[in-house]
Structures are given as structure tokens and as C-alpha cells.
């Protein structure tokens, strides 16, 4: 079976005609891709649709993967582009980092979440809820850094920006996450201390 093989070996198998080997890559990275999509497109249904689309696109253009970067870096570039296209199609704003409206609209979602807070007191859920309140840009950069095991240089490649710009984005995203947590989950934060 292909499960013990590394990404490049599996890709070579797929390119040689063993299409079933691709399932190993899908299994291996579906949670990463789905989480990234979810952080950007916000709903599970949309995230599932976009994540499937990402894997289909990756399969179609697999011959273009040159191995110069990690497979995940290449895959997350497809995630980034597919999510942006999806948001554009849904006519949602792809808001800039400096757009203050993003906070106003995100805060409106808080009331729905507060209803569930009693059941969602765990640390993980609180952080996930706070990330869900962030703009797609901020949520994406935080997820890439903390969950997708990408270095700043790899993130720069995925996002198509300079490494220094990634640092700035990450810093701003973390500052906003901290603000969200303090503003909306102050009680939970206090309980944790």
C-alpha cells in the first residue's frame, strides 16, 4: 500500500497511473485543507465543497507539482486561490486587513455564539469561536501558521506576498484575535486563569 510512502512517492505513483494512490494524499491532508477552507469560507457546507474542489484541482494539475516546495505549500496555494474564487462567486467581500467594517460585521455573529457558550466552554471551542469572528484574511494566516505547519517563507509563497508582509499580517491577525477573545470571551479567559 502507499500509506508508508512520502508525498512525492505517492504523487509519482499517481502520475504513473495508480490513481487510487491519490486517496492516501486526500486522507492525509483533508483535515488541513478542510480547516483552512472553513476558516475562510466560514460554513461547513461551503468548506466541504471548496475542499473537495481543491483536491480535484490538485489532481488535475498534479503534473505541475515540481517538488521545489513541500506538497502542502503547493496544495495550500490551490486552497487560497479556490477560496478566493469561491468568495468572489458568492459575492462576499474579500476584505482588506485594514477594513474596520470586518470587525463590525463579525461582531454581529457574536450574539448567535453567545447562546451556545454554556456548552462551548472548552478552551479549544473558545479559540475556534474567536477565530471564526476574524476576517477570512486573518483567520487564514493564523491557521496557516499554527495548524498547517507552514514557515513564514512558505506562507509567503502560499499567499503570494513577501515574507515581511506575512510577518505584519500575522502580527495584526494575532492582535485582532486577542482583542476578539478579550471582548467576547472575557469570562472564559478569566476562568482559564
Amino acid at each position: 500500500m502507499s500509506t508508508g510512502l512520502n508525498d512525492t512517492e505517492i504523487i509519482n505513483q499517481v502520475l504513473r497511473g495508480n490513481h487510487q494512490a491519490y486517496a492516501v494524499l486526500v486522507d492525509r491532508y483533508q483535515a488541513y485543507v478542510f480547516t483552512l477552507c472553513l476558516r475562510i469560507v466560514k460554513t461547513r457546507e461551503d468548506a466541504e465543497e471548496v475542499a473537495q474542489d481543491v483536491f480535484v484541482k490538485a489532481y488535475r494539475y498534479l503534473a505541475d507539482f515540481k517538488g521545489a516546495s513541500k506538497f502542502t505549500t503547493w496544495l495550500y496555494t490551490i486552497v487560497n486561490n479556490t477560496c478566493i474564487s469561491f468568495l468572489r462567486k458568492k459575492k462576499l467581500d474579500i476584505r482588506s486587513l485594514d477594513d474596520e467594517n470586518v470587525f463590525a460585521s463579525a461582531d454581529s455573529q457574536v450574539s448567535d455564539m453567545q447562546a451556545n457558550q454554556v456548552e462551548q466552554k472548552s478552551r479549544v471551542q473558545m479559540v475556534n469561536n474567536a477565530i471564526a469572528l476574524l476576517s477570512p484574511d486573518d483567520a487564514q494566516v493564523i491557521t496557516l501558521f499554527y495548524k498547517a505547519e507552514q514557515s513564514l517563507e512558505e506562507m509567503a509563497q502560499v499567499l503570494g506576498i513577501e515574507t515581511n508582509a506575512v510577518k505584519v499580517r500575522l502580527h495584526r491577525a494575532r492582535t485582532r484575535l486577542k482583542e476578539k477573545m478579550e471582548r467576547n470571551f472575557a469570562t472564559e479567559l478569566k476562568d482559564l486563569n
Binding site: 478542510f34 505541475d64 479559540v127 486577542k178
Partner: protein, 174 residues
């Protein structure tokens, strides 16, 4: 008091984040370690940021539906792997086209200068000299007209190719 400690709060946070991430330089790490020992404000902020860092690190990845892999594999049975871009974009052709157009431009310039009669007059004013240039002489030549016509045709073909590619991409995305 240390100058570093009096820097704006935002700068303190940025430096502390880099310290927490491990992306700060060795010198910077030493400076921040000293600040953390000496300055209560830095220490407090450090613990605050470290807690957030650990909380975000502790989050788990979300899982898609159980059928996810199956759905993807069903979809790819209807797909074919596209040939690698590098196999159908031949660099030699691109370079060849580049050289061809550069050679055309150079030959056109050489021809143009060859047709010009240079004379040293007493009038050194460039704008007045330019007025004397007979442009119609260049564009009345059949070769130049043919060259311009070929360029227009090539331009139209490239434009058509560009729009048809965009149309195809748009349909694929739909």
C-alpha cells in the same frame, strides 16, 4: 530605565511575538530575556501573549464528512491529469520569438537610419531639427507597411487567444 522598555506597546507585542515564535535573532532573544527579568510590564505582556499562543496551538483541526475521500475519488474518475505546463510551453519557442521581434526592431531601426540623410547644419535646436524629419518617408515604404500589417495581425491573433483562454478558464471555474 531601559530605552527598550519605553517603546510603544505595539512594538513590545511584536517583539514578544517574535520571541515566542522563536523567529527573533539571538541578540534580540538576549535583550528580551533581560527585559522579561527586569520589567514587570514586559513580563505581564509576555505571559498574556504566551497564553494566547498556547491556546491557539491547542486547537484541533476540523474534520470533514466521513464520505469526503470517497466523494473526491468519485469526482477524479471523471478527470484526467493535465500534462505539465512545461511540456507544452517550450522555452526555446519563447526565446525564439523574443529574438525574432528584437531582430525585427533592430533591422527596422537600421533601415530607418539608413534612409535618413544626416547633415550638419548651423541650427542645433533639436526640436527644430525634429520638425525637419520627413516621417511620411518611413511609412510610405511597402516593406514598412507590410511589417505593420503583420504586427497588427499577430496582435489580433494573440488578443483572440487571450480572450478564448479566459473564456475557457471561466467555464472551468463555473
Amino acid at each position: 530605565m531601559d530605552n527598550n522598555a519605553t517603546q510603544p506597546d505595539n512594538n513590545m507585542e511584536e517583539r514578544l511575538w517574535q520571541f515566542i515564535d522563536g523567529s527573533a535573532s539571538a541578540d534580540e532573544k538576549t535583550v528580551i530575556s533581560e527585559l522579561l527579568e527586569k520589567e514587570a510590564a514586559w513580563k505581564e505582556k509576555y505571559h498574556e501573549l504566551l497564553e494566547i499562543h498556547q491556546l491557539v496551538n491547542a486547537t484541533e483541526l476540523e474534520s470533514p464528512s466521513m464520505r469526503f475521500t470517497k466523494n473526491v475519488m468519485e469526482q477524479i474518475t471523471r478527470q484526467h491529469i493535465a500534462p505539465a505546463t512545461r511540456t507544452y510551453i517550450n522555452n526555446r519557442i519563447i526565446w525564439g520569438l523574443g529574438f525574432f521581434f528584437i531582430a525585427l526592431l533592430i533591422s527596422m531601426l537600421v533601415y530607418g537610419f539608413g534612409q535618413t540623410t544626416f547633415s550638419s547644419g548651423s541650427d542645433n535646436n533639436i526640436s527644430q531639427q525634429l520638425d525637419k524629419v520627413n516621417i511620411s518617408r518611413f511609412f510610405s515604404n511597402n516593406w514598412i507597411n507590410a511589417f505593420m500589417f503583420i504586427n497588427v495581425v499577430i496582435g489580433l491573433i494573440l488578443l483572440d487567444h487571450y480572450f478564448s483562454t479566459r473564456k475557457k478558464t471561466f467555464r472551468q471555474e463555473m
